[in-house]
């Protein structure tokens, strides 16, 4: 699938000016859907270091344009404010300059330490307690919005 032009890097630099009301888009498949609450099953949400697209530079359907993406993929979103739940994480704009799937809107949600503010750019692969991670993942599941339902 050719990638839409607005996802091309075109020499643009990173932009870390997230607003709490901005939304982050992420794909999901039908077997990850939770029908009782019309949300995503918490067990399928990984944290930290999960990838999203920033709504400032993309649309929900753009989650399908990625390695291993599918035209059956659905899309859910949550606000940057929700991604900063309990100040234990923050989004980091991280454009991907891949020849086949460039993605200027690519963003990673990474873990923060207690002493770090949400404007800090944390590294990947930080360790957190299982309880803190589970609370964060449950918060995402409790506060997301389904943008596109996946196809079975």
């Amino acid at each position: 699938m050719p990638v839409p032009k607005h996802l091309l890097i075109n020499g643009r630099k990173e932009d870390q000016s997230f607003s709490n009301k901005d939304r982050l888009y992420r794909s999901f498949s039908y077997d990850e859907y939770e029908p009782i609450q019309n949300t995503i099953q918490t067990r399928t949400i990984k944290f930290p270091d999960f990838s999203c697209n920033w709504d400032r530079y993309s649309f929900p359907i753009d989650v399908r344009y990625r390695l291993n993406g599918s035209d059956k993929d659905g899309c859910f979103s949550f606000t940057v404010g929700i991604s900063r739940f309990n100040n234990c994480a923050t989004p980091v704009h991280n454009p991907i300059d891949n020849p086949e799937f460039p993605n200027y809107s690519h963003t990673e949600v990474r873990a923060l330490r207690d002493s770090e503010g949400t404007n800090y750019l944390p590294p990947r692969k930080r360790k957190l307690s299982k309880g803190k991670k589970l609370a964060y993942r449950e918060s995402i599941a409790n506060n997301l919005k389904i943008e596109i339902m996946p196809r079975d």
């Binding site: 498949s29 077997d31 990850e32 009782i36 609450q37 099953q41 918490t42 067990r43 399928t44 949400i45 990984k46 291993n68 307690s129 299982k130 309880g131 991670k133 589970l134 609370a135 993942r137 449950e138 918060s139 409790n142 506060n143």
Partner: protein, 185 residues
């Protein structure tokens, strides 16, 4: 006269668990919930209770009668409903280990035997382990317990899409307290 007694001072009795009375909320408007009446209800679960002989305190023993073999089989069958996601395999996520699954069955069986609760879902987790999901009757409140391949355990309760309680479960007491919070009204 009230006396403070540690539960560790009380001899264990198979099939029964001992908790200080004050750890639970009683329905004080129901006279059957007080004194030596042999049955009490906490939330939707009925328990047989008995006073511990020769101890003049507010300690009681409780048990729920259940068939633990049928429960273990039921839980394993629930787990088989959800195959491991192929995309997770491609991303290098590990499947639940045998010991993780055994611990999960043991926890779920204990929860049934002590509280009469059965999970509505038992499935692999992207965090490399297994998740147990429980719902209350009105589907307004849910409990999730995750057992990891590292054999750590965590639990979270949500009510009306808000987190009520979340913790790392390090001791059996943590698990019991979490379930009590889930079942209490």
């Amino acid at each position: 006269m009230e006396q403070a007694i540690s539960t560790s001072a009380v001899e264990p009795e198979p099939g029964w668990f001992t908790v200080p009375e004050t750890s639970y909320k009683h329905d004080v408007s129901n006279p059957e919930s007080e004194g030596d009446f042999p049955y009490v209800a906490f939330g939707d679960i009925a328990y047989e209770r008995k006073a511990i002989p020769a101890i003049a305190t507010d300690l009681y023993r409780y048990k729920v009668i259940g068939n633990s073999n049928a429960i273990a089989l039921h839980i394993e069958q629930l787990f088989d409903i959800f195959p491991f996601n192929e995309r997770w395999l491609a991303d290098g996520i590990k499947m639940p280990t045998l010991q993780c699954k055994k611990n999960m069955v043991s926890i779920a069986t204990q929860i049934y035997e002590q509280f009469g609760l059965l999970p509505v879902q038992v499935a692999p987790s992207v965090e490399e382990g297994v998740m147990l999901v429980y719902w209350n009757k009105s589907k307004t409140r849910n409990l999730k317990i995750e057992v990891y391949n590292t054999l750590e355990i965590a639990g979270v309760i949500s009510a009306n899409s808000k987190i009520i309680n979340c913790l790392d479960i390090e001791y059996n007491w943590d698990l019991i307290n979490l379930i009590v919070k889930f079942v209490e009204k």
